[in-house]
């Protein structure tokens, strides 16, 4: 059966992408600010790091500030704001994808022409932030640096002890989430500094848009990590984090949590295209539970160097341009080297390579399963990966010839497999999909009733009821027999 490959637009898991982040938000009003999902771009080569943070909050965003632990005191040149659209483009490009194939009518030898389904992009929710209070200097807390970048007032603080830091925050009107305290001390003793961001109302008023742009920081440090522990302080339950990482060498991987590939290349029923978001949401949750809730899921890995033509198969959005990559902090493209980009001395040897490897990791964490911050390493692993799900459209038209009848039979079997796969992937019994299957029946290109998803679900659930436990019985008999034989031979 010849198949025609077509691409359906990626559907961003918008429900999962209500962004938040790795620091914690300090609310001046009652702490109703919650962060659920975050997106971070990490760029790493040698000991050089660029981190770009995209924030989104839930709740009243009035009176807001953000605190991020950083390993070094950042200078003014090390901080900048970048275009928010970069996150959208990276997300669209690396998101799990749905692929469409068309069956050929065996009776006519004709098949549909390629058509490109429209891209189903969903915009990420926007960040609205306003207000901030005064900051006073206190003895136990030292203001290492202070500057204005774009619409932000930025402070780099170092503290002698967590109690002093807490007092300082309280005196300056910030409410610290109760859970944040247990990590402040370890951070301070690890010699981390605190990057405190507030909005400068005057500067913000000059901007046309009403959201805050992502903040990008860069520094040299052997530590390749993301401090998620602070971010757990003001989140409700599980938080999602999407990491877009760029390196010269290959994939990044988490070194203190298990890395797992999300299930990929699965054939799933046609009706899933109606709600791919919900499908992927279910799939992710099922896999996450299966992996004991403490893994780093790989969703995409590819060499996206501008000189490399193929970045995915199929691609679901335009590849990030060299300019997007440079915006993301990939300083080695575009003739920029680290010293142009920063005044940090370039001590490391720069091999001049223009390779860019893109890794997308998806975390879902909570305090119980994630006791430590995320530590990473750059590996030389250049193997490609993408989360890809396949739907296949049936052939249409007259099926009265022998080949056509055979095709219908095969189609039914194939769809049964697809339904089983769907149940395994989403952890939801086939019957729970009956409603979607019935709703889809009218749109199905193949009107033969026996091949309809809804019909197959009905008959499959009946078959299951008749299932006798032959497998278990025979296995038990085999084990008993084996044990008896060993006993007889005097082995046990």
């Amino acid at each position: 059966m010849k198949m025609k490959k077509l691409i359906l637009g990626a559907v961003v898991i918008s429900s999962l992408l209500l962004m938040s982040f790795c620091g914690f938000y300090v609310s001046k009003a009652d702490g109703t600010l919650k962060n659920k999902t975050s997106q971070v771009i990490l760029v790493r080569d040698g000991n050089k790091n660029v981190i770009t943070m995209y924030n989104d909050f839930k709740g009243d965003t009035k009176d807001f500030a953000m605190v991020v632990p950083v390993p070094v005191v950042l200078k003014k040149e090390d901080v900048k704001v970048v275009d928010q659209g970069v996150f959208q483009r990276l997300n669209d490009y690396s998101a799990p994808r749905l692929v469409e194939y068309w069956d050929q009518n065996p009776c006519q030898g004709y098949y549909n022409e390629d058509k490109m389904a429209p891209m189903a992009n969903k915009s990420l929710s926007e960040v609205v932030v306003s207000g901030y209070g005064n900051v006073r200097k206190k003895e136990t807390v030292k203001i290492e640096a202070q500057y204005l970048i774009g619409e932000y007032d930025i402070l780099i603080l170092s503290a002698k002890g967590s109690s002093g830091f807490k007092t300082w925050l309280n005196e300056n009107g910030y409410k610290i989430p109760a859970n944040a305290e247990e990590v402040l001390d370890p951070y301070i003793k690890s010699n981390l500094k605190f990057f405190v961001v507030k909005v400068n109302e005057k500067e913000k008023a000059k901007l046309a848009n009403n959201f805050l742009r992502p903040i990008q920081i860069k520094f040299t440090s052997p530590k390749f990590m993301l401090p998620i522990r602070l971010g757990m302080a003001n989140a409700d339950g599980d938080q999602d984090l999407i990491v877009y990482a760029f390196t010269r060498k290959g994939r990044i991987e988490c070194t203190n949590y298990r890395n797992a590939n999300i299930a990929t290349d699965k054939n799933i029923p046609l009706f899933v295209q109606k709600n791919f978001n919900a499908f992927y949401g279910n799939l992710f949750t099922t896999q996450w539970k299966k992996e004991d809730k403490n893994v780093a899921f790989l969703e995409y890995a590819w060499d996206v160097s501008p000189q490399n033509y193929y970045h995915c198969d199929p691609c679901i959005a335009t590849a990030p341009s060299a300019q997007d990559l440079v915006q993301s902090g990939v300083w080695w493209l575009n003739g920029k080297d680290w010293s142009d980009y920063s005044d940090v001395d370039d001590e490391e040897y720069d091999n001049g390579s223009k390779n860019v490897h893109f890794t997308r990791l998806h975390f879902r964490y909570n305090r119980n399963s994630f006791a430590q911050d995320l530590m990473f390493q750059v590996t030389p692993n250049t193997e490609t990966f993408q989360a890809r799900y396949v739907i296949t459209h049936p052939a249409q038209g007259d099926m009265s010839c022998d080949a056509g009848k055979k095709y219908l039979k095969e189609l039914r079997e194939r769809r049964k497999k697809e339904l089983k796969e769907l149940a395994v992937l989403t952890g939801k019994d086939m019957n729970t999909w009956q409603e979607d299957a019935m709703a889809f029946a009218d749109e199905d290109e193949q009107k033969n009733e026996a091949t309809q998803y809804a019909t197959i679900i009905d008959s499959a659930s009946k078959e299951e009821e008749n299932h006798s436990p032959i497998g278990i019985l025979s296995l038990t008999a085999l084990m008993l027999g084996g044990a008896g034989l060993m006993r007889y031979k005097g082995m046990i």
Partner: protein, 294 residues
């Protein structure tokens, strides 16, 4: 009987446990099974052993019996590589396996090989070629794994009577981590538990550092040597953020072993027989073991 015969040589236990770990990783932790990689490790190791044994082996024993006796060690090294070393390139995999086995024949002092074969193969591939890597996070830190690895590991080392090695290393390493993470930095306890319950660390402590041929003979010297490895590995892991620090430090510390053996005289390691083994068999195994490159 067959099972009793199996128990005479502790290496069979090690092979059994290593194969359990690999299956556990593939079937329960859903590792991507890289069959081509495992095959490369095993094939290259075995071919290298056959070739070196042919040209450089001790001629006083028949080739076939030398091979028969050394094959389990080759399998152990191959499993060691399969469990810890990853690469995209078949040449790099072959190189790692070749270095592992060849070092047993080429780098010898006083009839003892210097390097733990798989540790040297891993370090060579990671640090010299830059095209291989070690995934410390691949085991996760489930308590079940901790328990399983400890128990299985315990049996293996008691069979080869080198539990002191594991405990000296693991005890020192864990104590330093505890002091740093809990007492000094003030992290909650589960932070520390996650650090020490990684499968990679336990695998190293019970299956790699314990290799009886590449550790000092003298008990106290051996314990001190293990503690030294733990201290340096702790420093590199904590302050230099190095992954796989224990393996690197082990390889760097192994050339000290002949020197330590010279300073602290002790009887070299001997396989102690399981009760079922008679004196003649024990003597044979020890003669063979001490004279061959296994």
């Amino acid at each position: 009987m067959f099972l009793q015969k199996l128990f005479k040589d502790a290496r069979y236990f090690q092979i059994l446990f290593q194969s359990i770990f690999l299956s556990y990783g593939i079937y329960f932790l859903h590792w991507k099974a890289e069959w081509w990689l495992y095959i490369t490790y095993f094939a290259t190791s075995i071919i290298t052993q056959l070739a070196f044994e042919y040209f450089l082996g001790k001629k006083e024993f028949a080739y076939s019996s030398r091979i028969a006796f050394s094959i389990p060690s080759v399998i152990i090294s191959s499993f060691g590589l399969s469990l810890l070393l990853k690469t995209n390139d078949v040449e790099i995999a072959a190189l790692a396996a070749f270095v592992s086995i060849a070092s047993k024949f080429l780098v010898r002092i006083n009839g003892k090989h210097i390097f733990n074969p798989s540790a040297l193969g891993i370090i060579t591939a990671i640090f010299l070629t830059g095209k291989a890597w070690f995934s410390p996070g691949q085991w996760g830190s489930g308590a079940v794994i901790l328990f399983g690895v400890c128990c299985l590991g315990f049996i293996v080392v008691t069979r080869v009577q080198k539990l002191d090695t594991s405990l000296a290393f693991l005890g020192t390493f864990a104590a330093l981590l505890f002091i740093r993470q809990i007492i000094y930095l003030g992290w909650p306890l589960d932070f520390f538990v996650q650090s020490i319950s990684t499968g990679s660390l336990l695998l190293f402590s019970f299956f790699m550092i314990t290799d009886p041929k590449t550790i000092p003979n003298h008990t106290i010297a051996r314990v001190l040597w293990c503690m030294l490895i733990a201290v340096v590995a702790f420093y590199l892991a904590t302050f230099k953020f190095m992954n796989g620090a224990p393996i690197l430090v082990l390889v760097l510390a192994q050339p000290l072993v002949p020197l330590i053996d010279k300073l602290f005289k002790a009887k070299p390691f001997e396989w102690k027989p399981a009760s079922a083994m008679n004196k003649k068999e024990t003597r044979f195994i020890n003669t063979v073991y001490n004279n061959l490159s296994i």
